[in-house]
Symmetry: C2
Subunit: 352 residues, 2 copies
DNA sequence: TTGTATGCGTTATCAG
DNA sequence: CTGATAACGCATACAA
């Protein structure tokens, strides 16, 4: 028999404590069955007779029963919850990925727990620890490079995880695309149009694997085509519109003889274009701009710019499917990064 | 004494079950104290002697102890978790708000649980139910109008909540800004420049309080200044770049004699501008475009457009603070919407 | 098909 | 300051 008296008036733990929400036992009492039966009626309908099931459902509905996830988590030893660590939430394509991830997971009943470093000293390790303490069944790590500590934590907790936006699968399964190929596409395109000296506005490579890989890929591609990546036209900065604007100003005022500038993402590109626009520099006649398309708005920007389209949404979905597979089938499912599509959306005009 | 044998070999529940993570009891055993002491050492340091505290901390660290949130939630009757329902995650300013919300909450140890309807039949009510089942201590409802059902659920569960981006506080505390004032600013601006007949591209007003309020505010402002909001230049659509593009095409091809079009958000505006650009329509000489600035990139768009800047980030922070207040002080703290700043970022040129 | 009893890992209460 | 012990609400193995 249960230790909590159901018939008595519920004793508030504290004076200000909110009224206790309905529990399985309350439903059971109302339906005139045992708690176990209610539990089964709700989550294993096939194990119960239709009649009692109806009675239970009605009772549950009548008192507005909502299962207690914490109790359920304790009993089942899983929370139906997945954590996501998401740097630079605002000015990146991460929202798109997160949306895709959330949708994919939600279809199987999983909920997403968010942790977004505010680049004001919040440590990834702490966020992961918090997420683990919340009992996430799995974890998605977006962008950036994470301290070894994080992976140690994940290992001791036995929590499956997946990294997004990287190819470096030394530490675990990854979902990403080929930065080298992306870079090559842009560079080839620019080279075909006769550009020789190009610049680059990208994210800080320090502690940012995405930015690092992007720059590295670009340098390889540039070398391969015999172009020059001019140092006096290469800027590392935070991602953001204002940052793109400022970076382009610096390049422009520096007088570097580049004829094209590649931007690490759309925000930077939009900012850069705004700077050129304001300065009255004709694009692409005087200076071409190219970009990697993190977002959906690059194709709509003016003036047109060469863009490599990155399959953001697909990455989120793929990551979600991978985690679900690990979570459900216990089958790790080869974690090889999916092949991804790269598309030139608009053409950077020939040099003037 | 505990019922689980700590010294014995842990019995796996199922053959495939992952190794159990370290528990309070494991730490206790290692540190040579009782579980209760470990609990206190970790979460109420002031109740414990420095010596044992150190010993416990070291033991916990050594075996990589991470507290079990579910168990903690059961005992404490709270999860240190806040839910957020977020429609249209991808193409809106919601990421910015969510980031602000998350940061504000994280500072006090709260984690954000995400639910993002995919407008493919996923019901808000279900998401709220799921979030409640996860045990969220409070809930943030962004955008849209929610079914009565939702509020009933929240009431029976006694879960505090806050709505963002609305002024309609009939159903509970809200954080929002004055849509009427925002609309008036745009309209006054356009009127001052001599525009008389204007169009509008906005979100579907059906089931979208934001869009509805925005249109209503616009209509009031237009009437007040004696302008005309032309029906043949008013388009309701999904938010998005492509949608803005298409809407403007429709208006343009329809031949409506408007001289200015107001867009419900930046995505729509960007799309509309792209359409005009592609069609070779000079902006703002032939047609002016104005917009509400949901995002941070409007000021960087070309050509310049009148923009009302909405305090997105502040809304997220305000909502976070409100929830924290309710959660911690038990003091509801008057839920009046904060006054918000409205700023004209760029000027829409005079009519040509 | 249904009822009963136990355990899940913490916190909190109450003695010592 | 510390140790034992009782909830917390649910799932599940076992009995009936």
């Amino acid at each position: 028999m249960s230790s909590r008296p159901t018939a008595e008036f519920p004793t508030p733990t504290k004076p200000n404590a909110r009224a206790r929400a309905a529990s399985l036992e309350d439903v059971a009492a109302l339906a005139g069955v045992s708690p176990g039966t209610v539990s089964r009626a709700l989550s294993r309908p096939e194990m119960i007779s239709e009649a009692t099931r109806q009675r239970v459902l009605e009772a549950a509905d009548r008192i507005g029963y909502v299962p207690n996830g914490a109790a359920r988590a304790m009993a089942m030893r899983r929370t139906l919850t997945v954590g996501a660590v998401i740097p630079r939430f605002g000015t990146s394509s991460f929202p798109t990925m997160v949306q895709a991830l959330e949708t994919t997971l939600a279809e199987r009943g999983y909920t997403l727990l968010l942790a977004a470093p505010d680049n004001k000293g919040s440590q990834t390790t702490d966020m992961v620890r918090t997420l683990l303490a919340r009992g996430v069944d799995a974890l998605a790590l977006l962008g950036s490079r994470h301290p070894q500590e994080v992976f140690a934590l994940l290992k001791t907790q036995g929590t499956p995880f997946v990294q997004l936006w990287t190819q470096d699968d030394a530490l675990g399964p990854c979902v990403g695309f080929d930065e080298s190929q992306a870079a090559a596409l842009v560079v080839d395109h620019l080279a075909d149009f006769g550009h020789r000296e190009i610049g680059f506005i990208g994210g800080y490579t320090r502690n940012n694997e995405r930015a690092e890989a992007r720059l590295a890929g670009l340098m390889r591609a540039v070398a391969k085509r015999g172009l020059t990546l001019r140092e006096d036209a290469t800027v590392e900065t935070e991602y953001g519109l204002q940052q793109g604007f400022d970076a382009m100003e610096r390049i422009r005022l520096g007088g570097s003889p580049v004829s094209a500038v590649v931007c690490g993402n759309d925000y930077l590109a939009a900012g850069a274009l705004a700077a050129l626009d304001q300065a009255g520099v004709p694009v692409p006649q005087r200076l071409s701009v190219a970009s990697f398309n993190d977002n959906e708005f690059a194709p709509f920007m003016h003036p047109p710019l060469t863009t490599v389209h990155l399959p953001i949404q697909e990455m989120g979905e793929q990551a979600g499917r991978h985690l679900l597979a690990v979570l459900q089938n216990q089958a790790p499912e080869a974690a090889a990064p999916l092949p991804v599509h790269l598309v030139i959306r608009r053409s950077t005009g020939p040099r003037g």
